[in-house]
């Protein structure tokens, strides 16, 4: 029992990172209807930005901010440079999907050219693990979870209660009606991708902190797990995505704890296949397709 609780504790850390990544992915999807296959690179670029800042003596906060900024700029560039060009011409779906895969490969290889393909170590002084109730967490892990909760809460407030958030939901529900209502849908979509990029970049930073190493391919591997969480939660639905992220995160930790972490990806895909077979529209379908509701 005790060991299961410890595993659950580690699972919650993974769940925190995964939920942020999946929320960011869902935001991108919601306003453009495009599954962004270069989402993982937002995390990767975030990790490299944090690494560079750390190499130059920056602290945790500065590293986190740099990661968010790097991820945000990349997401904005992918939206404005690639995705929006398809959306504007009314080309959705598959071609855009493939284009984002191209972006993913290009970024991975640019990173290989600059930093090499090998794993880089990302070490932060973790501090001694402390007991919190039945769980055992280091300071870094607590920072990861608390920041994930704070970011999620902030995102909720933005989406539910600000004018921008309402226009975001309007664009995600009916882009053409949003436009005839006077909303500049392309700008709302760009800002949404920027927001998603900030969150995704930060997720890349806490992923690197948590794992301790990263490479140009880390984000892509984690993206495949992200996809599982997002699809399990029902694409485009924030609350479902959050729950999906938590369930998949915890499940992975239990599986990794008892077998081997290197099977994580295979395991994530097993979950994904199962979800698609059993509940193709997500585990938590209430007939709605909404961000936060």
């Amino acid at each position: 029992m005790h060991e299961a609780l410890l595993t659950l504790g580690f699972g919650l850390v993974t769940a925190a990172i995964l939920s942020l990544s999946a929320l960011a992915f869902t935001l991108e999807y919601s306003v453009t209807n495009v599954a962004n296959l270069s989402h993982g690179e937002i995390l990767t670029v975030g990790a490299y930005c944090a690494y560079l800042v750390q190499q130059h003596g920056g602290g945790v906060i500065l590293s986190g901010l740099a990661a968010a900024a790097g991820g945000g700029l990349l997401a904005l560039a992918v939206h404005n440079g690639v995705v929006d060009r398809f959306v504007r011409r009314g080309i959705g779906g598959l071609p855009t999907f493939i284009a984002t895969l191209g972006v993913s490969l290009v970024i991975q290889n640019i990173l290989v050219i600059i930093f090499g393909a090998a794993n880089l170590g990302y070490t932060v002084p973790q501090g001694a693990p402390r007991t919190v109730g039945p769980f055992l967490w280091t300071d870094t892990e607590i920072q990861i979870m608390v920041s994930a909760v704070v970011i999620t809460a902030l995102l909720y407030v933005i989406i539910q209660h600000t004018r921008f958030g309402k226009s975001l939901r309007a664009v995600s529900q009916n882009r053409s009606l949003a436009r005839v209502s006077g909303i500049n849908a392309n700008r709302v979509a760009a800002l949404t991708w920027l927001l998603a990029g900030l969150i995704g970049g930060y997720a890349g930073f806490i992923l690197a902190e948590s794992v301790g190493t990263f490479s140009p391919y880390s984000g892509f591997s984690f993206f495949l797990i992200t996809l599982t969480a997002a699809v399990a939660g029902g694409l485009g639905k924030a609350v479902g995505t959050l729950v999906g992220g938590i369930i998949v995160g915890i499940a992975l930790e239990f599986f990794g704890g008892y077998l081997s972490a290197s099977y994580n990806l295979a395991f994530a895909f097993a979950i994904l296949s199962l979800v698609i077979l059993v509940r193709p529209r997500g585990l938590f379908v209430g007939g709605r397709r909404s961000i936060f509701e």
């Binding site: 004018r163 309402k166 226009s167 939901r169 309007a170 529900q173 009916n174 053409s176 009606l177 949003a178 436009r179 005839v180 209502s181 006077g182 909303i183 500049n184 849908a185 709605r288 397709r289 909404s290 509701e293």
Partner: protein
């Protein structure tokens, strides 16, 4: 020319039309669906566009509202050229468009739908919302409900109110009474008349031709994407050609 007729056709020379569409050609990338269509609408009048299924009525409204791009022709709003503007700009020029389907944000509340309708307003959002709640009291009662939970009739009212939030010069309505019970249909017409009375140019596309022609000061008959004829609504009601176009629909 008699001087006392409050007839839009007579007023033609004196007034600047709220909406002047001339020689509009538009479609969806293939052959044009509407070709060389001209329509004008005056403030304080109901202008109807009628025609058989697939005549291109919805396509015409989409092209006027900037949802699809016209390949030829001009759109003038209150005397200013508005040709080719994207829909988010056109609404700032005073064109409000209520589509035939998917005309509310299903997972926004009634209040949020109105707020989005007034997105381009710099001020007076609150006052305008209250004005529209007076025109549509049902919506006020339902203001916290999600649009998807409303009845068909309420949804139509919300769609109209969303369009009216900008205080438009022109309100384009695509089949506002379609699929509603006769009781709701007359409620919709009552609202349309009230909106007209606030000096808006209401352009209505409708299937229920008889009822529409009764309300319309001026009507255009569209057939196969082209202007067939136009005239005062009540005159067209008894026009043989119109009756022939609608055998089975009018009777």
């Amino acid at each position: 020319m008699t001087t006392l007729t409050p007839d839009p056709a007579m007023a033609e020379t004196a007034t600047i039309a709220a909406l002047e569409v001339s020689g509009l050609t538009a479609g969806y990338g293939g052959p044009p669906i509407v070709e060389n269509v001209s329509v004008r609408a005056l403030r304080g009048a109901i202008t109807a566009i009628v025609g058989p299924n697939g005549a291109g009525k919805s396509t015409l409204l989409k092209a006027i509202a900037g949802v699809i791009k016209a390949s030829a022709g001009t759109v003038t709003v209150e005397g200013r050229d508005a040709t080719g503007l994207p829909s988010e700009k056109l609404v700032r020029r005073g064109i409000a468009y209520v589509p035939q389907v998917a005309n509310v944000f299903p997972q926004l509340t009634v209040q949020e739908n109105l707020e989005m309708g007034g997105y381009s307003r710099r001020h007076g959002l609150h006052e305008r919302t209250e004005e529209l709640y007076q025109l549509f009291p049902d919506l006020k009662l339902a203001h916290r409900r999600h649009a998807e939970t409303l009845s068909g009739g309420q949804r139509t009212m919300l769609a109209m109110a969303r369009g009216l939030m900008v205080d438009p010069a022109v309100l384009l309505l695509d089949e506002p009474s379609a699929g509603l019970s006769p009781k709701f249909q007359s409620a919709v017409w009552e609202r349309i008349e009230q909106v007209r009375a606030t000096n808006v140019a209401v352009v209505v596309v409708e299937q229920n031709t008889r009822e529409t022609l009764r309300h319309a000061q001026w009507a255009y008959v569209l057939v196969l994407g082209k202007n067939r004829l136009d005239g005062r609504g009540r005159d067209l009601l008894h026009n043989d050609e119109v009756v022939n176009l609608y055998v089975g629909v009018l009777s």
